[in-house]
Subunit: 385 residues, 4 copies
């Protein structure tokens, strides 16, 4: 029988003393899982960025679906991961990508210090993979505990939240961080080594991420293992983190557009995640299979932001997810301050295009842009997966 | 021949000394309009609220269409009416409904002091309607000039902008203020006496506004005339502001949702405005006729905002513009902090409904709401027009 | 013996479900108060505007001082009255004068509908003052209860907070709402009829407020009684709200500048409030007496805001609280975009002055101003109290 | 004779098309400077962060003072360096440390790519210092030109501003970037090699900065030269950037607190800068000499931010600029939600102290803090300079 439990994690305190908490839901695997095979455990969180709320609905649908499914690995689910961000309104919208006091991106505050790898590897030579795994997990968790509890100068608001989430994530093998773009197609951030897994999600666009830590949760959970694998490899020792035995994977799942909850779409996304978990052996249900679709990949270095060459008001034209030929317009920008009645060439309209083919993935959330506002993000040099 | 001209109006100055200007486009009627009949002049502005940008695109399409049409009355078009608001970003969105320093709604800063009416009427007894019209227009413009130029304690940022726009608007007979809702259907604010005109716009929902000044541009331009008519009526004198001779009308045209520019939709909206201008004799083209559609009206007092009874994340369910039966859900609110796995009744979802039939017109721009956030605005006690 | 108790009032809920609460501290009068004389009860709140925090420190010092004083009337103290506002940061500062979603001033959301007065007076003819008082208090509280609990379209975030505070305030005779200015001297908003009481506070500047309800807490608590008195007076009946028997007074106490906590200054302010409460017989201690000082008064209509005639950066020059002669500079505005090296007259500096004597009371919180930003507020036509 | 000129640099465009410009004032050295000795040129900018406005007043006072002084080196002065930031209000304050759309710190967007150093050094072996200097300056300027003009994906809003300023700064030998803290004492960011120069400013606290580029203007202008010097040193070649011949120095001058203009204090600060310029031979006046004062230094790695261990309202206690003994309170935090009348120990007050001696340099701008808000920045392990 699956055991369900709920904890409430205290992640912050506001000026009035109001305590901000995060609910942590845990599903313990059915105890009769007697097979010899290791089943990976799973950590799923949503809403680290305040406006990216759809992941909460996906967690709701996951929980509803999992009621009727045999669960072989432990699953931890954390909606509303960042209540500071998710409650911060400026006007009608949620100012949720960064700490409103400091401007720090909430998803760049996780911790990984690469210098722990080498000494650890030295200690591990000759040990079993399972022992190494256990010890490394302990090391990562201890490092985070240390940061949380033993810092005389304190932690920033964002670190306190991120480290507590990271402490939970390190306990799992598979980590899914549910985000959204501004106005966006679905896409997946996937470590390069886990490319195969990407096709078990119903998400047509995959970004392949190198082994470089930039502060995000997916990186904070896969980079340590990947660096560990590389450090062993440098010594000629195989330690394969994508083996059945270790099975370490982390993804940032971009569910579409921000500022929206749609429970019907969330059900589809939950099924897509279950398809991945079925593939990984976490659940025992053949019901969830990936959809057949054209899938595109792109390396992170080729994922380009296009910044507006002018201030103005944008009519976004390019459709998401489909190759856009060189010269075809991404957008047209209206500049009514420059209207000239006499000319027939409609000069207040400026068409924006690129000189090579791209796949548009997302665009800015508002029609009003300054010179230099990020208009679109596009796959360049993409390939089929 | 139509004469086109452009002016640049200086409406504000920022801390760095940056001057904020508003472009004013004028189309002078064809000079060969020799008919005896008075042709009304028109004032159209857009983007007084910063995020409500679609009206700029409509002005673009109007200007493009008017190039090929014979114009009998003067038309003044003002896009980007409020550059302070339209340039004010907080996060990705435009914080544009109110002055970010004071919280004052930019569209509640126009001026009308009812006490000018009675003395004016006393002076006018026995005069011709045309003389009264001219004198009253002069009085209104002088009043605004006085406020702009002779105030030793100065003007607020919003007053300075609003009064300059109002000075232009008072020069016209017909005034259209182009706005949008947050996420919204098209609807029209129409003074009660001008109900007939509403059906010349391709807009299915009309709010009928009483003769009460609350600071908005439409009211600031129609209330003075309406009060004048009433003051004459109190003396038993007929002064009919919706006669062919006077023809005073003002509308706030709500074009749909904010934060969006769509030039194709703007073309449709421009044609809808030309249909109204054709009806009023301002242009000479039979091309533009109102679409046939089911039209609903509602008195302003019956236009109700529904405030969220709880904090949470909203899946907006009710379709805009169609009657929603009593008890049918407007929205469902997700509260993942309250998820209870054991119960099968899905208790983190709260359905919101009303106990009588309404027509939903618009809803809040974000899924994340506090307790007390305005969720929907609805027509109650609506009727067919 | 004084009884102390604490309640926690639930005033709001954020998107994550986070509950916002307000602590309510109550001191019950010593039970051996056997005198025949009625002792007024007191309600004191602080921090309705988010950045105006010093009142919380004053409540702390009041509670500390009251531990050693015999209390004859009940005292209710509410710090952090508006946790939504007090927790809302934009950048380093607290955006706390208005609801960040709607722009509504948090201190303009209290309720008073004057139409309840006349029917109530009709019912009361011939009754004792004490009965009238009890019944009117009940009517005001019931009206608020009604608004809180029986509104099918719900309440705004601000109304829900304001009405709950108002329900507490209506239970008291004397109401103090602790605020601050932006950068400000201490000043007091005082109903015209309570002028005598003003001199028991250690506050040199008093604004005298007419009987007009504009949504603030002081007005919401004194206007109903004042209107009641006037309605009785219209019938030739004396009902004296400033009598010893009724003793209804409400003040907005402006403690100085926002964004600051100073516990030493707070102790002085607490003593000043105790001086008033001693005068009113609420406490039994001769220790607290008003300081001797030059006191100035000004009618609300003569309290003027001066708006900046230009954008720029302001060096505020005029000292608070002292008469400033006509022509003397309030401020000088720097406009470095206009610097002209050749001229010796320092043309990037613009001096701002008025043509009549004023007392500057407060100025804007920042040196950077737009054209139309409120620079100073000043007493004009002031008089000694 | 000194030649004065003004240019207007176009740095950005808002959604309405409003152009944002920056004034650039240039003083050309007296042409009769016939001495053999090279005189360094100077670049001074202010207000890159929106709320840090005092530098504009210092530039005003510098220009006024320089009218009467013989100038031997060219001086470029740029007030209002970032009009996007300086015009961005949220509530009454200026949200100016970061791009309100992206959260990016405006002073972390300058450019330096260390990989240009090695190839350049290879080309320069055997060349004169003066030639190397000229060529390296050209390389740095060309690199920035390239980034400004030849980027098909465009530039961010902040890059466009920063690169244009950097292009100007690279043309000078001495660079001063005028900033302020939130509420702050005066302090100076100084590259480690330029320590001697620090004592020519009337600023008692100096931070010594290592050769690590983190995106700020001072680093973007001194790091390239310092890396160049080190690369030559690696080859055993002396190329001394702090020699009289090269004389490359950059400082971030922290003038005190933000949101304030004080022209009298600005005059003192201008004199302090002239004392430094006199020392460097840029001006010919013995009038300006550094004040005698106790001066403290601290390495950047020992400059510590202390983050609040709790939410609450802060009474900042520690005085700036003076050593604070271990255990002495930095601040006390009020938590009125926790008030307990019965206890005499004042439990809602939490005292914050450190276990070693520090010099407090600045504190947060507001009394209201979240758990994790930066309370103070302090020198640890400081030393006398």
């Amino acid at each position: 029988m699956t055991t369900f439990s709920k904890e409430v994690m205290h992640v912050g305190e506001m000026a009035s003393g109001a305590k901000l908490t995060v609910p942590v839901y845990r599903l313990k695997a059915d105890s009769d899982n007697k097979s010899m095979e290791k089943v990976p455990s799973v950590y799923i969180q949503a809403n680290m960025h305040g406006a990216e709320v759809q992941g909460n609905a996906v967690i709701f649908q996951l929980l509803e679906l999992l009621k009727n499914i045999k669960i072989k690995g432990d699953i931890t689910l954390v909606p509303y991961a960042n209540p500071v961000a998710c409650n911060h309104k400026n006007g009608e919208y949620t100012l949720g990508r960064f700490d409103p006091i400091t401007g720090m991106n909430w998803n760049r505050m996780y911790h990984f210090d690469q210098s722990i790898i080498k000494p650890f590897v030295q200690e591990c030579i000759g040990k079993d993979d399972a022992v190494i795994e256990t010890n490394f997990k302990t090391l990562m968790i201890d490092t985070i505990e240390q940061k949380l509890d033993h810092n005389i100068f304190g932690l920033t608001t964002g670190q306190r939240i991120a480290y507590q989430l990271q402490r939970l994530a390190h306990q799992a093998d598979l980590v899914l961080d549910l985000h959204t773009g501004p106005i966006s197609s679905k896409h997946l951030y996937c470590p390069e080594y886990a490319k195969e897994s990407a096709s078990y999600f119903d998400i047509p666009h995959t970004l392949l991420i190198p082994n470089e830590f930039d502060g995000a949760l997916d990186e904070a959970t896969f980079c340590p293992w990947w660096h560990l694998q590389e450090a062993f490899a440098d010594l000629g020792i195989e330690f394969s983190i994508d083996s059945k035995a270790l099975n370490k994977e982390s993804f940032t799942v971009e569910l579409g557009s921000q500022e929206q909850i749609d429970l019907d779409v969330a059900l589809e996304d939950a099924k897509s995640i279950l398809s991945y978990l079925q593939y990984k052996g976490v659940i025992d249900s053949t019901e969830f299979q990936p959809a057949k679709m054209q899938r595109y990949g792109c390396y992170l270095k080729d994922y380009k932001a296009f910044y507006s060459p002018m201030g103005g008001m944008v009519d976004y034209l390019a459709e998401f997810g489909k190759p856009l030929a060189a010269g075809e317009p991404l957008a047209r920008i209206l500049r009514m301050d420059n209207y000239n009645y006499a000319q027939s060439d409609g000069d207040p309209l400026h068409y924006i295009s690129l000189d090579h083919e791209v796949i548009p993935i997302l665009h800015f959330a508002s029609a009003s842009v300054n010179q230099g506002t990020e208009l679109y993000k596009v796959f360049t040099k993409y390939f089929t997966l």
